[in-house]
């Protein structure tokens, strides 16, 4: 379980996070949603330890991130998988080399075991036959799948996804969402997904946190989002014509 307690973060005069308290549960896809500029990405990077909070603390299980030794922080990072918005695949490496990289870097597996692990995760994200291709040779959806495969290659306890389906067509976006949820449930990971895609919220949001102007203003499940009476959530969710029609249909 990951807990964020009273997180405050500013960049000069720009106060981005103004005291955020959230618990993220293991075995569930925890979604952070909100408009652009609401502080989602800064919050995610603060949880990851890429930004130090000005005050407040991040708890990984019983340990406080800010109090961990350098060595412990390094080992913690090996328990974390991250799917970046743009994939962040290494251009100079093939698909298989990208997935193999964390294993080469940190595991003490034999070459045979590494081969087997790479094959397992590639099969798991349905990337069979793409071993030798380079990131520039594959589609956006495949890049996201490679990114997920790389993130789970070390069998992490925590999976972070920063807008994993941005730039994808709706069909591929759903495939990626479902893949993230399947993996989360299958491996019991604590998954945190940063998104502003309402389809993702409804599809995989086991636990949804809504942020606005650096505050958490609502949390619940995907089933509760549509029925939320919180004015900010309602305004956000029912902004599009499609969801306005959904609301009308639900009220009937």
């Amino acid at each position: 379980m990951i807990q964020a307690k009273g997180i405050v973060k500013s960049f000069g005069e720009n106060h981005v996070l103004k005291g955020v308290d959230v618990d993220f549960y293991p075995g569930k896809t925890n979604l952070i949603i909100g408009r652009s500029g609401s502080g989602k990405t800064v919050f995610l990077k603060t949880i990851l330890g890429l930004f130090e909070p000005d005050s407040g603390s991040i708890h990984y299980g019983d340990e406080v991130l800010g109090e961990m030794s350098k060595q412990r922080r390094k080992t913690l990072r090996q328990e974390i998988g991250m799917v970046f918005q743009g994939g962040a695949l290494f251009d100079s490496m093939s698909v298989a080399e990208n997935i193999r990289f964390p294993l080469e870097m940190f595991s003490s597996m034999t070459e045979h075991e590494k081969d087997a692990r790479v094959k397992f995760v590639m099969d798991r994200v349905r990337l069979e036959g793409a071993d030798e291709l380079f990131p520039s040779e594959i589609s956006g959806g495949m890049q996201k799948r490679v990114s997920i495969a790389r993130a789970i290659s070390m069998n992490p306890n925590y999976l972070f996804c920063d807008e994993p389906n941005s730039g994808l067509d709706p069909e591929t976006a759903i495939v990626i969402d479902q893949l993230i949820q399947e993996i989360t449930h299958e491996f019991g990971m604590t998954t945190i997904v940063n998104t502003h895609d309402m389809n993702s919220v409804l599809e995989i949001g086991d636990h949804v946190v809504f942020m606005k102007e650096g505050h958490k203003v609502w949390e619940g499940t995907n089933d509760q989002v549509l029925g939320s009476t919180n004015a900010d959530v309602e305004d956000y969710v029912f902004k599009s014509k499609l969801f306005k029609q959904v609301r009308t249909a639900l009220r009937k």
Partner: protein, 251 residues
Amino acid sequence: MITNFFEGIGAYALLMTKVFRRPDRWKLFYRALVKEIQLLGLDSIGIVVILSVFMGGVVTIQTAFQLSDDPLIPTYYIAMATRESITLEFSPTVVSLILAGKVGSNVASSLGTMRVSEQIDALEVMGVNSASFLILPKIVAQLIFNPILIIMSLFLGLWGGAMAGDLLGLVPFEESVMGYRLEFIPFENAFYALIKTIVFAFIIGSVSAYSGYTVKGGAVEVGVASTNAVVRSCLAIILANYLLTDLILTS
């Protein structure tokens, strides 16, 4: 502006303390080193060959133009003066400046692209010391390979000078060889050239890596970083050249 300059120096020094750490995995370091030697070293041979041969030829022609009017100066002195110019200055400095352009922009743009496409963040999230992992092989590759390029450039420059002198009837080839050998102190001249080369190689690798690694923004900023890398490396080389010349030749 002065504050920015000193902040930049501080950030550069801090980055270097991150770069010069023991690699997490030696196997991956050696693999990256071989790639960098190929990319930054072997791929630069062509330009160094062309530059050195023509540079040698031009230095011979210029020297002959200055000295050939005086009948009391033997023609092999033209070759001797050419040798001194090439070994002391032209090969180590001019070739390093050219490499700062070719290699520096390559290093800065590749690291800058990795930064803006979050590849460096991906390494950091994994717990990899991205500075050491990405920059150390580039600097080591240049420290290893630039001296080889400069030694090659020395020979090619002298050969180009002798050929130009012979073809244009300024200095016969045999006299060029005689001039090159006259009062040549291998340790002193070669040592001076190699010391400069090693310092310049470090400057090219580290300054351009700093420019690329610290990029913030997008494609435009990567382009700016690439230009900055070349400008900063060239300025640092010129400054270091002056200091080293003063330090080594006058001491």
